[in-house]
Subunit: 402 residues, 2 copies
């Protein structure tokens, strides 16, 4: 006999374009489940859960539940509360009060840590609970899964932006000489690397990509950027918000200090990477250029999501319920890549202890030796995910004889 | 008998997502024209023209010409050269050398000034030339036309970004309290105003919009932003890069100084509007938030172009050739709005002297009295242009009883 009771689902951390697809998958499967009675949703994550802010998802109109698959961001409301030991008694109280036996959270490292600890705590105190994590993060920095739902869509946003910004920069090269595109990615360069997916030939954007996995050398950067300007007449540069100089100082740090003159991080600090890289290049070349700081726009641009990302996010939600129903607990649903051409993947699972807290960097051989671009190997991994990029044309160099 | 000879077409100023559609329209009509022999393209605008960098557009493969309609930015290459009187003899020399009798430029105010002056110069020296301008600018600041090709698509980019960023900010309001979106728009607030097109109800983004047509009062801004945070739990702010304080100081100026401590404009100066507005709000509230600086990304995002913008841009190109063929000269093609529901428009024309150099601001009654949002009248103008916005859902407030 399978465990009977109610289910709770929450979203945590930063949103993505497809995280509501995972939510829709969980709700869909949970409503159909014989083991699950009511399906509740945490309003504002574990913080809302402890406050008993619980959506009755079973009572939502059908068109709202269907619309979730077309809606970006975290419809339940998100939170960044870091779980503390003193929270457990309150959590247990709410679990019992609402007879919750199925516990699902969609999120990243910290969220997986939360599921892991809640599930372990329940085991310890003898409260039967099936806890399954559903991966989500545009940063793609979760262990145990080929990639995370949300990554491919944010990656496509970056690839599109850099392609389109490159078209513009190339056509305007008589006026401006460089364009710097900044992407989120504090610890890992996956999203910066993905900007190369639309590049077809050498002079296409981007020309230089800097990831947090390697130290940023301003002198080499200026040399390389100048070489591109010399060769192509312009240069397209992609920077991850987390890049640091060799002494560990964040590239974002030079300009932004708070009122106590401390280096500041967060939206403000991170945002100034492009500003500083732009400044370095402007001072070194005397040329004009621009910088683009999209911040979270690639986390919510549903119109640019990839079809497979949306489907996989949904499938992960469904699989979480299937695992829990069949008695599994303490796992995160994963995506396993089956083949690259045609791209095929299937859902799997990994113990939460494999995933929680740690961030997965790009493999060393995904970045070239100079640390200023990605390798073919990186593109082999990335391109099957970042699909449906446009084919722009260029006029052929057929000129009238003078 | 109509004038026989070759045609030249050029693109000038900043690109748009649809300017190549106008180019395609001109080429298509010019190739079919009995009056026009060869169709040449200026590589890098009037600057390239004087250097005799001329594409032979008639010789381009058909698939390249068709692909132009799907390709953003200025395929011919653009320039910002400001026409000087001393340029005329060289221009005349090239016109004669290549037997050019049809002269088309796609661009904004300055470009219309160029067509106007070249056309007038030719008349003066007795060289028969038909000169027609084709409007283009994401800024929508050209006189004589209901709107400019390129505007609606850039406006849709802004509306989408602010909708999507708003979804995210609302769902994350327990963590961050504000989001500041900066759009290009030095002299006119059309693109900032357009960010409101996706707003359906009071608490939807954006809550506050600041346009260059009104002075920016930091004290009132803080009051209004705090009131939104109080009411909705968060606030979405849209700023035009060109907004100035009451004493005329650009809002971008406070932070950015060049190495001689001069206030700096251009990509760097303009870009810091959002940064400064973010700083004002952060200091006034003590809360976290983020800012987004997309710069030219909305000028080249072809995947977000509106269908009618693409079609109108093409139609303007075709109409330019039709006018010139039928003996007209000294005009800019215009778009005349016929009706709003269903939206219908037709091409028209206006003398270049009506358009050249001056920038068209938004009408005073498009902005509310407080200067912090647009009016219904603005939205009546904008919404028929900024089409095909998504319908995102929100969970209904059906909560489980505590």
């Amino acid at each position: 006999m399978s465990l009977k009771g109610n289910a709770i689902i929450g979203q945590s951390g930063g949103p993505t374009s497809v995280i509501n697809s995972s939510l829709a998958g969980v709700i869909d499967a949970a409503i159909k489940s014989d083991s699950i009675d009511n399906v509740y949703g945490m309003n504002y994550g574990i913080e809302g859960f402890m406050n008993e802010w619980l959506y009755d998802l079973t009572a939502q109109p059908k068109e709202i539940l269907e619309g979730l698959r077309e809606t970006p961001s975290s419809a339940l409301g998100s939170s960044r509360l870091k779980l503390q030991d003193e929270h457990f008694p309150k959590i247990m109280e709410v679990l019992k009060k609402y007879d919750i036996r199925y516990f699902f959270l969609i999120g990243g490292n910290d969220t997986m840590d939360t599921v892991h600890r809640v599930e372990a705590y329940c085991k310890e105190v003898g409260y039967e609970l099936k806890g399954i994590g559903i991966p989500k993060t545009v940063d793609n920095d979760l262990y145990g899964t080929d990639h995370t739902p949300g990554f491919a869509s944010a990656a496509r946003f970056n690839a599109l932006s850099v392609m389109q910004g490159g078209q513009l920069a190339r056509d305007m090269k008589k006026v401006d000489k460089f364009v710097v595109f900044q992407t989120i990615g504090r610890d890992a360069g996956w999203l910066a690397a993905a900007a190369a997916c639309g590049k077809k030939k050498e002079d296409d954007a981007p020309h230089l990509i800097y990831c947090p996995e390697r130290k940023f050398n301003a002198k080499e950067f200026v040399e390389d950027a100048k070489a591109c300007i010399e060769k192509y007449g312009w240069v397209s540069v992609v920077v991850s918000e987390g890049i640091c100089y060799e002494d560990g100082t964040p590239v974002s740090a030079a300009v932004t200090k708070d009122k106590f003159n401390n280096t500041e991080f967060g939206a403000m600090g991170g945002a100034s990477v492009a500003l500083n890289v732009h400044k370095i290049l402007r001072e070194a070349t005397g040329e004009r250029g621009e910088f683009q700081i999209i911040e979270s726009l690639n986390m919510s641009a549903h119109d640019r999501a990839t079809k497979s990302d949306l489907q996989e996010a949904f499938d992960c939600g469904v699989e979480a319920v299937r695992l829990a129903e069949s008695g599994e607990t303490g796992f995160m649903v994963t995506i396993e890549r089956v083949s690259n051409s045609p791209y095929q993947a299937k859902v799997g699972k990994t113990p939460l202890s494999n995933v929680a807290v740690r961030a997965k960097s790009m493999p060393d051989d995904f970045i070239n030796e100079r640390g200023n671009f990605v390798t073919e190997k990186a593109l082999e991994y990335l391109k099957p995910l970042v699909t449906d990029l446009p084919n722009y044309v260029e006029l052929q160099p057929i000129f009238v004889k003078k």
